[in-house]
Point group: C2
Chain length 200, copies 2
């Protein structure tokens, strides 16, 4: 049987697009906006808050923020969102083979001892900048490299806080691919072929 | 055309055996003992010294050791071996597609701008211990885990000294594989298939 596939990715590495194509080729669900929708529904927070606080340490002093719409005033909104998101991820994974992107899913699935192919997609700065410019075009007064470095830092801080592990450390992944060097298609093919015969 | 393939590996991960099979399947040279032989010939050091000092920081005070058989008294033996080994690796790679294991070859090939598929093979401690016991059997009074941790440390120190990079950092590799989770055969297949279509 196919495993649950968690895909961690650097911002601008094309990991999201790769994950979506892997799910399509394998004919399994791709959980991304559905996780955001469900966490929004269960927590009461708006979707854009879930997107912002569900993967990145956003730098605002969320640990002092007690404007929680639920009654759990002793939990920060970020902690609250993390716990609901964790529950939603485990529920999705419990339904059978699927692809889940980011959100500490590699860690959450491993801790829950769910059979999981853990994948990392990364690329060098040059490829990431080119990809973002290609996708979003030039944005006035935005230094794309600075934006990428900030996003990296936010995701690493978030990951460290909730997993006590370092994002990107090779023991956390069964398969790591440089999408800048290998190209998107070869990354999709390698993950699909590995998932099909994943022996673990 | 096939790229030069450099395979970095954790001690006990089966990376050496995987590298040898990849070379066999692709029908390209596997440079391992030949590098040791050539460095021994060119440097005047014995093969066991090359093996010991050509990849590991062995912890002996080699930087004070001036017993060099060559006349380069102002270079440590380890530096001398590194430089000759670097030259030999580049000569091997210059002959065409091949597989080279360890010895900072990922860094050396990248610095020389040689088209190179850089691979990392790793495994969790449990699999590494099992593999070493299976290969060498129990050795009286040897704590295998301690031996693995020491070897890791020696290789990391050596790598850091000569490359100023951290061994295992994901940006150094195009493809990283957990041989404990994927198994040796799937690692071989993935590297072979990737090398065949490596677009970079």
């Amino acid at each position: 049987m196919l495993p649950v596939i968690s895909i961690s990715r650097e911002f601008g590495s094309g990991g999201h697009s790769i994950a979506s194509k892997v799910a399509e080729e394998l004919g399994v669900p791709f959980y991304d906006s559905e996780i955001v929708n469900r966490v929004a529904r269960e927590s009461g927070y708006a979707k854009d808050v879930i997107e912002r606080k569900g993967e990145d340490s956003t730098g605002d002093a969320w640990w002092f923020d007690i404007s929680s719409p639920s009654a759990q005033y002793f939990q920060s909104p970020q902690d609250e969102i993390f716990l609901i998101q964790q529950k939603v991820i485990l529920e999705c994974a419990g339904k059978g083979p699927c692809v889940i992107v980011g959100r500490c899913s590699d860690y959450i699935l491993k801790e829950a001892e769910i059979r999981n192919l853990s994948v990392l997609i990364h690329a060098d700065m040059e490829h990431r900048i080119a990809r973002i410019l290609n996708r979003y075009g030039e944005i006035q007064n935005v230094d794309v490299k600075k934006r990428i470095l900030k996003k990296d830092k936010q995701r690493r801080t978030y990951y460290k806080y909730y997993t006590d592990q370092t994002w990107g450390d090779y023991p956390n992944y069964d398969l790591s691919l440089d999408s800048g060097k290998l190209g998107e298609d070869l990354c999709v093919k390698t993950i699909v072929e590995t998932a099909k015969v994943f022996p673990y």
